[in-house]
Every structure is written in structure tokens, then in C-alpha cells.
Symmetry: C2
Subunit: 407 residues, 2 copies
């Protein structure tokens, strides 16, 4: 229409503050590179290549209901039982099914926790660098994340109690930990976890632990849940996920686990608003947890440990690259001898290839709350087999050389 004036509506501040995922926002460059015939080695996203257990895929294929109905809002009862039994049997815990609320991925569990613990403007203490999507959840929930810096020089271990405590204010509602850690691969020690639990007890705030990577610990480490320390503490909320442990990220199977009845009731109210999580995956996951051998995870952990070693040795050998040895999960942070890792990551996808292939890494800046600290760093997910990791690192090295020569 000629002459029509279209005013644009201003969208909400919280929407404008929700950052695009640093893991996903360069995805279009990767799509373009592939369209141009370049093979892309994905070290940017924690999407494991380990095959999903047959027990789960069989459960999907065997779904035989004639009507795909809503599941209960708190989750499939069989899955709540199976998840509880699985944790009890494999970790020596004594959880109960009623303490579990099944969510659409750990993402949804974390959004529920942020919503329940905090009103807009309230604070949650996190450790910096942090899982980037926590920043998104905080924007959605209007929560102010208060970062405590961790450094590569200290292997990203937890800072002193003093450093944490001095950031607690009257608006602090929780301390949020991810152990083993995404994005650093650091595994917090029992003492570190105990220090956080004690601090939360004293300050009367929640201790929220994201245990998505709990079993992925290397060397002679054993999986440690915060529930091992204090199984009935009603200030503890565990967020868990089957995505990585059983290589079924696309199943969106998460949970919230707590002995705090009020938190469970409030979570159920939020869960009822969205009716239910997807039904079929829950049924399949219950069957899987009831029947899978511990061998599956044992093999996966060995495989990741091998990849970790390959990655660490490969990166350490590159001139100017600084990297710590991750103790768990399947991530590492590496410091590159360049100024702007986002520019470099884009360059690798847009302008560089080596024998027809390139490497996709995530710029680490998006994982740092404190501006500037992550600028020359990248986060690597070692979710490819060792041969591919070697190739991906050679390409990274060649790309670095070329990039430095033209910048």
C-alpha cells in the first residue's frame, strides 16, 4: 500500500537481552560451508557420535498405543521409578521416584528452577566461564547471574569460599554448579562440593547442581553426586539429563530431583501449564534404564577418555596454544594465540579449508559473563572419534597459521 505507515512494535527487553547461543549462532556459516562442498568437523557442540542404546531405540520402535496421549505433567511413572532405581543402583543413593519431576531436557528443569527460586531481579551465583545457556535461562527468567571468576591457571577449580561468599547479597537465591563442568571439563572435588553445600546451608539459599555429565570422569575418579554428601538436604536441587549419558540429545529427557516438597509442588504447577513432556521418549527411556547394562556407559567413558587424551596432546603441541587437561565431561577450553576467537571461528568456516575440510569450534566469549576474559579462547567438544579429532586439530593448526599470516 502506497503511503501506508507501518509502525514497528518494540519487543520486550528480556527478549532483546536473550543472547543467541554461542554454540549455535555460527551454524549458518557451517551450513554454507557444507553447501560449498567442504567437510566440517564439529567440535562446536556437545552432540555425541556414540550410538544411542538399542534398548532405547527398540522402545521407540515398539511404541504400540493407538492414541498418542498426553503424559502426566510430573512425567511417566515408570520413568520416575526407573530413573530413581538407576541412580540408586549405580551410585549407591536412596532417591525416591516422588522426588523426580521429568522435564523436556535439563534445559526445562533449569528454567523451572530459575523461575521457582527467583523473582525478576533476584540473583544466582555461577562460576565463570559458565554453560552459555544459563545466560539465556537467566534472561528468560529475569534473573541476575553473578559470576565468580575461575581461571585456566587453576584448572578452573572453584575459587575460595571467601571469593564466593563476598558476592552473596540479600537477593541471592542460589548457587548453581555444573560438575563435571561444561564448558571447562573440570570435575569439582568432594571438598569443593561440600564447601558449597555448607555455604548454602549457612546462607539459607539453594544449592543447584547440574549433573548432566556426572558419570564422565576420567582416570581413577568415581562419579560423585551432590546427593552423596547430603541426601536429604531440602536446599539441594539436582538437575539431570539422559542426553549425554546415553547419547540421546534429541530425546529431550531431563529431570529435576529434590527432597524439597515445596519445590516439587511449584515445579508441578509450572509443568502443568505446559501439560506434559513428550510421551514416547519417556516410555522408551524407562525401558532402557530398566534393562541397559553398565557396560554401555563404561565403554563410552573409556572412549571419551581416549579422545580427551588425543585432544589434549594435539592442542598442547600447537605453538602458542594454551590448554588445561579436562578431568571430565567432554569439553575443554583452549587459549589461542590470536585476539578474537569469534572472528577466527567464522574465518575457519567462511574462508578456510584444508584438503576440502574445516573445523568448527565455539568461540569461548559466549561462555564468559565477564567481558574480555574469553576473547582469545575457544570451547572444544571432543565428541568425534580420535582419528577425526586428530584431523580436526591438524586443520585447526593449519587454519591458525594461515589466519595469523593474513591478520
Amino acid at each position: 500500500m502506497i503511503g501506508a505507515i507501518t509502525k514497528q512494535i518494540i519487543l520486550s527487553q528480556r527478549a532483546r537481552l536473550t543472547p543467541p547461543s554461542p554454540i549455535r549462532r555460527l551454524a549458518h556459516l557451517s551450513t554454507q560451508a557444507k553447501a560449498n562442498g567442504t567437510k566440517v568437523y564439529h567440535l562446536n557442540i556437545g552432540q555425541p557420535d556414540i550410538e544411542t542404546p538399542k534398548e532405547f531405540l527398540d522402545g521407540i520402535k515398539n511404541y504400540s498405543e493407538k492414541v498418542l496421549a498426553y503424559e502426566g505433567s510430573a512425567g511417566n511413572e515408570q520413568l520416575r521409578k526407573a530413573w530413581s532405581n538407576y541412580m540408586n543402583a549405580s551410585l549407591g543413593l536412596s532417591t525416591e521416584p516422588a522426588q523426580f519431576l521429568i522435564t523436556t531436557g535439563a534445559s526445562e528443569a533449569l528454567i523451572f528452577v530459575f523461575m521457582i527460586c527467583c523473582d525478576p531481579g533476584d540473583e544466582i551465583i555461577i562460576f565463570d566461564p559458565t554453560y552459555a545457556n544459563y545466560i539465556g535461562f537467566a534472561a528468560i527468567a529475569g534473573v541476575r547471574l553473578v559470576p565468580v571468576p575461575c581461571t585456566m591457571d587453576s584448572n578452573f577449580s572453584l575459587p575460595s569460599r571467601f571469593e564466593i561468599e563476598k558476592r552473596i547479597t540479600s537477593r541471592t537465591k542460589a548457587i548453581l554448579l555444573c560438575s563435571p563442568n561444561n564448558p571447562t571439563g573440570t570435575v569439582y572435588s568432594r571438598d569443593e562440593l561440600q564447601m558449597i553445600v555448607n555455604l548454602c546451608n549457612e546462607k539459607n539459599i539453594f544449592c543447584v547442581v547440574d549433573e548432566t555429565y556426572r558419570e564422565f570422569v576420567y582416570g581413577d575418579r568415581q562419579p560423585l553426586s551432590v546427593l552423596h554428601l547430603d541426601p536429604r538436604n531440602d536446599k539441594i536441587i539436582v538437575v539431570d539429563s539422559l542426553s549425554k549419558r546415553f547419547s540421546l540429545c534429541g530425546g529431550r529427557l531431563g529431570c529435576l530431583l529434590t527432597s524439597n516438597k515445596e519445590v516439587l509442588q511449584m515445579s508441578l504447577n509450572l509443568a502443568q501449564a505446559r501439560l506434559s513432556s513428550p510421551t514416547i521418549e519417556q516410555i522408551a527411556a524407562a525401558q532402557m534404564l530398566n534393562s541397559i547394562s553398565s557396560d554401555f556407559l563404561g565403554k563410552a567413558i573409556k572412549e571419551y577418555e581416549k579422545r580427551r587424551d588425543t585432544l589434549y596432546d594435539g592442542l598442547k603441541a600447537i605453538n602458542g596454544v594454551n590448554v588445561h587437561k579436562p578431568e571430565g565431561a567432554f569439553y575443554a577450553i583452549a587459549k589461542l594465540p590470536i585476539e578474537n576467537a569469534e572472528d577466527f571461528a567464522s574465518y575457519m568456516l567462511r574462508d578456510f579449508s584444508y584438503n576440502g575440510a574445516t573445523t568448527f569450534v565455539a568461540p569461548a566469549a559466549g561462555f564468559y559473563m565477564e567481558g574480555g576474559r574469553g576473547m582469545s579462547k575457544i570451547r572444544i567438544a571432543y565428541v568425534l572419534n580420535s582419528e577425526d579429532i586428530k584431523k580436526a586439530i591438524s586443520i585447526l593448526e593449519a587454519g591458525l597459521t594461515k589466519y595469523k599470516s593474513i591478520k
Copy 2:
């Protein structure tokens, strides 16, 4: 521990304000009744009994990837294309796949819309009674819902423009419609929709239309989308769902559809924070939409129309019950000759049975924002076959007689 002082942490106000679902909060009484051997006719929840299309269930069974990976945050590309093609072919529209963002049910799409349009304290105008979960989404997003009353005497049709316009303030960001309507079954006319679109244009606010029940219109009515009125208006956001149309509520397949690029970008940012919707259902839904015959829906609509007639005739015949004839969806509001429908609904589950069976209805109060208006009303979902509806209504009638005799 003797002497230990456990302070309880006060949870957030927004969590405490999120109401339990009026559809689900009596579910425990139903579970108990079943445990006692009573058959329960579910007229409380819009869970259709129509069989899920074979095309979808086959898609689930045929899932053949070895690794269940994350889907793209905006949704499976094939599904975005298929949904767009399906709407274009069946409704004569000209949508494009890029205008679709796939969500975990329409619930998630609505939460995204509330988050994007509003900051906490902003307002959305809705029509009262309303879909109860909108109240939950509003609590989650800190949005103030401003109800415009609709009355049973006017078949729950839209009030005058004057009544709506006078409620628009500087904080109003959207008008939200559900047509065909849950919980009333009312189908808004083209003129009513046009009035809302015009008002939104003039006031520069969003027009959000929940078209979950779009095709469920009876008599000689044809499905009407708000996009038929103004296909490229960037103030229009459509929320859609496959749950009811294809009887796959547990698949959690929804979408947000708009030509507003900024809304799509902000939705994508929110979607990236939760990584992806479940993968397998998206693939199966794409296959289904590409191959299903229009016969499936045609038959389902005829079946619901028959049920609607059975329900309406049955309720009208009960002494003291007031009911309007719903024109679409599969819900009706009925006014009972009692004071407290929640108490009556609980009574039916807890204390009453007739030949070993009882009827579960949803108290309508939870669907009314304005206190008091829904107290003696119930919402009925006619999602059972006509024979069962007849039985359920006989039981309801017997229960009403008994209830009135003892109160």
C-alpha cells in the same frame, strides 16, 4: 537431628502465583477412584480418543538414525516445509517455511510469545472465560492478563469493540484470541476477527491467535485462519498445534507462525536456549503431513459434530442445566444448578458412582479470570464416543440429583 533448625527458603512470588491446572488438579481423585475399581469417564481434559494417524505412528516406528541427535532450534526443516505446505493446500494460504518456528507444543509457542511481546508488568487482553493455561503462562512470564467478559447468553461471542478498546493501556502489548475457543467452543466470525485485527493495527499491538482447533468447525462453517484476513500483517502471530487435529497430544508438536522477522529472530534466541524440540516426533510429523489424506480430518470432524450434538441434547435435557451449543472445538461450558462446581466435581470422583462408574468434569472457575463468574459452571471436553458421552451424562445427572439432595 535433634535441635537442628531448618529454615525454609521462601520461593518466588511468580511460582506461588502459578496456579495448578484446573484441568489436572483433581487428577489424584480420579486416580484414587480408579484404584477403588470405579470406571471414570473423562470429560475433563481435551485428550481425544480418535486414533493417531498411521502415517505418524509409522514415522515413529521407521526412525532409523543410529544417534538420536539434537534437532535444529527452529525445528526440523522438513517439518517447517510440510506444515507450511499443509496449511497452504488445505486453507488456500501462502505461508512460507521460514515463517514457522517449531515448538514443544503450542504451550511453548505461547510462552515464547508472552516473553517476546511483554516485559513483566505488561498486559495482554484476553476473553473471559479463557484457556486456563494462559493464566499459567502469564504467571510464568509476569504478564498481567486483562479479561474482557464474554457471556453464555451471547454464546460467548466477542464483546463490542468499545468494551475491548477501553481496556487498552500504554502497557497493552497484545490481544490474544483462541478460535475455535477452548473452553467455550465458540467460533469467532470473520467480522469479529477483522475487528480485532483492525484494533491491533490502530493501537500498534500484536494480534495473537491460537488456532489449535482451527479445523474443528461444525455445520456449514469453513476453517478460518486470521491469516485469511491479512496474510502479511507483521502484527499477527499465529500459534498452532498438531495435538488435537491429528490426535497426537503426547507428541508435543506446536509452532509459532508470523511474517514478523524480529519476532522470529527473538523466538529463535529463546529456542536456542532450550536447544531443540524432540527430534523423532518432528520427523514423523513431517512424513505424516506430506502423506495424510484429508479424509482423516474430515471423518474426525464429523465424529466430533455428532458428539457435540449428543452432548448438547443430553445436557439440555437435564433439569436446571444451562448450556450453549458450541460451534467448534470440542468443549462446552455448562451451568449447573449448584453453587460450587469444584466441590461437585470432587464429589463425583470421591463419593459418587453409578453402576460402578463416575464422570470427571473440570470445574469452570479455573477458566475464569473474573472471580465468581464460573463458580457453578463446568467445562466439558467431548472427546469420548457418543455412547460413552450418553453414559457419562446419565451419571452426571444422577450425581447432580444425589449431590443436591445431600447439600
